[in-house]
Symmetry: C2
Subunit: 432 residues, 2 copies
């Protein structure tokens, strides 16, 4: 008999069906027992007599089962349905006790224990929902950019030169030559603006920064976009605003159950996302919080929190653009503000008071790269092959990058990014 | 004035419009001159008087321009339209001569010269079409799998243990520990069958094999899928058949112009793809071609060509499954054929006589992994964290992997895979 899944049960009331999945829970009541079967669409309840349980003797939760039974309405059961007259077959027995329970509403494991056993722990319904939301963000990102005429690209991850600085890249032996893992597809996506004008990539990036924080890991998924024929960074911010709206709309449509399970209130993007110029942001933090960081080249997390609070109170917005970060803190390919060249045509997008997206306008004239590199004391020698495209006609362009796992973590208000990362890589963890 | 692109010209006949793009060609006829502007949607022709060309003095092809003009019907022009009364503004001047011409129907550069300058060479309309077809295959793959209930996953590329064999992996320094680049998401996608039943990933894979052939590179994009609750590898082949059909339908719908430009005849997938059992395939090659490779553990490229020819003649099919490859040549996690255990529940999908997809059923019981590893003389010690999931209930499962660039190359009948790879990585090439 063809297998059906839990979400299809309601189409088969009164019929005999076959299901398959994992033994999620078993309430032994004696004469009548309630078995919960978990499949990719949810939970289904089966009612078994004492003697029906014989094949499960000595077996543990997560045993893989095939069940046949008749679908009967039962208001107290999940989905309001349950299986009666059940035949049960063990497909894959589980003899060992699980490292932690998967059938409680919340995982009881600590983060390190969870991560040690994440190959099993990710089966927990809340973790499933988390990972499905990540997949939904990626799908929403692609859908929004397709609608804007962007083309998907796949750029190499093994590179001959570090994009930004040599200190924070993983080094590799490439057939006897030194090579590196790409920190970002930055130069490649710029190059591809020369080909397709508007490009995006969803792929891994690698950062060898030896920090141990709750919001960094050393490998993550980056949602990258780059576009040509812009006026300045505000053109990019407009595009990002539409993309953010598209991602949230995608989640609202496709991840209803996941958002409900995790009690996530989806953020909203209004007509426009408010923005504030970097020096004004520092002034504001000083006035509101008394924290004087005026003249500092970057915002600290506490400044971002204060700004997020302000955006929420002042505009009812979960999002806030901070524009014009000082050139001193931005990479050398960043386009300066033509009217205030110590500042840049760049931005960060804060989401609920934390940096979620970084972007800006880039240099697009070869000679400007040479001048900027000289000023930064950088040699362009390792980048010649990449920079060639700027000799051959590049339009004004810019782009942005969203950290996927960070987006999920902030949406879910996870205490640690690692709860929103499939199999995190950090200073201490390279497995599983 | 808001910029329009070439594909929108026909909506603006008689109006004044602004366009922007690259100087693709300029035919200087004296009094009347024809300029071709290239943007992301195609070519548009503008007619300019001699004096209108002044801003282009000393500039080369690929100069980035903004043009304003009135849209006029002109049957001889591309799109049947051209711009008159043109004002021209240079956005990014090009002073250097291009390494090769981009405005001829075919690229004249040799492959090595092309690859040295691929950052510019990929702008050629044929290369653009090639890369758009690659993007279309990836999009079609995702769409087909979504329709089948698969969930997208993003697995780590830095791993503690090589999946299959230590000799062909890139080694990495991970904060002082040895680590490797993932050859495939194999174990991870299997683990994730325990979470979502059906999963897919589109991502880079890394192979340190030091070969120099026209059909291998050392980094490529792998379209990976894995599914649970299968009967055997035939369940996987059925799914792959639908996915192939879905990809080709996606291309037929979304890449019409690209396929026409490259004169690609799209392959067709009928009701089912024919299949042949490995030993029978060897017999057939012997009977048809007189090549006696019976008893050999694998098929050579000439065998695959002969089988492709046979499938074409016998079934009118571009595709052929070869099933049951000898266990000796398949990785240790492959599920043996229960009735003929020297052979495996695996398959290759040949496309026009060349291997395009590899797949099969995997072991799903922990003890079977232990036995298989012992038989293969392998230690499971480095894999313990991955294999834990098999102790905790894994359904019968299998999957497949499609090499994206190879698929494009075979569809286009490219002489070398590198023509279908954005920025290839091989023994000799790590740039751009």
């Amino acid at each position: 008999m063809k297998r059906i899944v839990a979400s299809e049960l309601s189409q088969h009331v009164g019929e005999r069906v076959t299901m398959a999945g994992w033994l999620h829970n078993l309430r032994r009541m004696g004469r009548v027992n309630f078995l919960l079967l978990r499949d990719r669409t949810g939970l289904a309840q089966a009612v078994l007599g004492k003697e029906d349980l014989a094949p499960l003797e000595g077996l543990q939760m997560e045993t893989v089962l095939e069940l046949s039974g008749t679908v009967v309405e039962a208001p107290a059961a999940p989905l309001g349905l349950e299986l009666h007259g059940v035949e049960l077959k063990v497909l894959s027995p589980v003899a060992d006790t699980l490292p932690f329970e998967l059938n409680q509403p919340h995982l009881s494991a600590s983060l390190p224990v969870f991560l040690d056993h994440a190959t099993v722990g990710q089966r927990h319904p809340r973790q499933q929902a988390t990972l499905r939301i990540a997949a939904g963000i990626a799908a929403g990102f692609r859908q929004a950019l397709h609608a804007e005429g962007f083309t998907e690209i796949f750029t190499p991850k093994i590179v001959a030169s570090a994009t930004e600085s040599g200190a924070t890249v993983f080094k590799l032996d490439y057939f006897g030559q030194p090579a590196y893992l790409a920190q970002s597809p930055q130069f490649y996506k710029q190059i591809m603006v020369g080909v397709f004008e508007k490009v995006y990539e969803v792929g891994p990036v690698f950062r060898a920064e030896p920090h141990a924080t709750t919001r960094h890991v050393n490998e993550y998924v980056s949602l990258d976009a780059e576009m040509g024929f812009i006026e300045n960074h505000f053109t990019v911010m407009d595009c990002l605003t539409r993309v953010m709206r598209g991602i949230l709309a995608y989640l609202a449509e496709h991840c209803v159950d996941e958002l409900a399970m995790l009690e996530v209130e989806l953020a909203q993007v209004g007509e426009a996302i408010p923005w504030i110029y970097f020096p004004d942001a520092q002034d504001l933090v000083y006035r509101r919080e008394g924290i004087d960081a005026r003249g500092e080249p970057d915002l600290a997390p506490e400044h971002e929190r204060a700004l997020g609070q302000w955006a929420s109170e002042e505009f009812g917005s979960d999002f806030l653009f901070v524009t014009g970060y000082p050139m001193a803190k931005r990479p050398f390919y960043t386009h300066p503000n033509p009217t205030d060249p110590a500042y840049s045509n760049s931005f960060d997008l804060l989401f609920r008071g934390m940096e979620l997206v970084t972007g800006g306008q880039r240099l697009h004239i070869y000679d400007d790269y040479c001048a900027a590199a000289e000023k930064a004391g950088l040699s362009l020698e390792p980048y010649q092959e990449y920079l060639e495209c700027f000799k051959y006609g590049m339009p004004p362009h810019g782009g942005f990058a969203i950290g996927l796992e960070r987006f999920v973590a902030q949406l879910l208000q996870a205490q640690n990014l690692r709860w929103a990362t499939l199999f995190p890589r950090d200073l201490a963890r390279l497995k599983p």
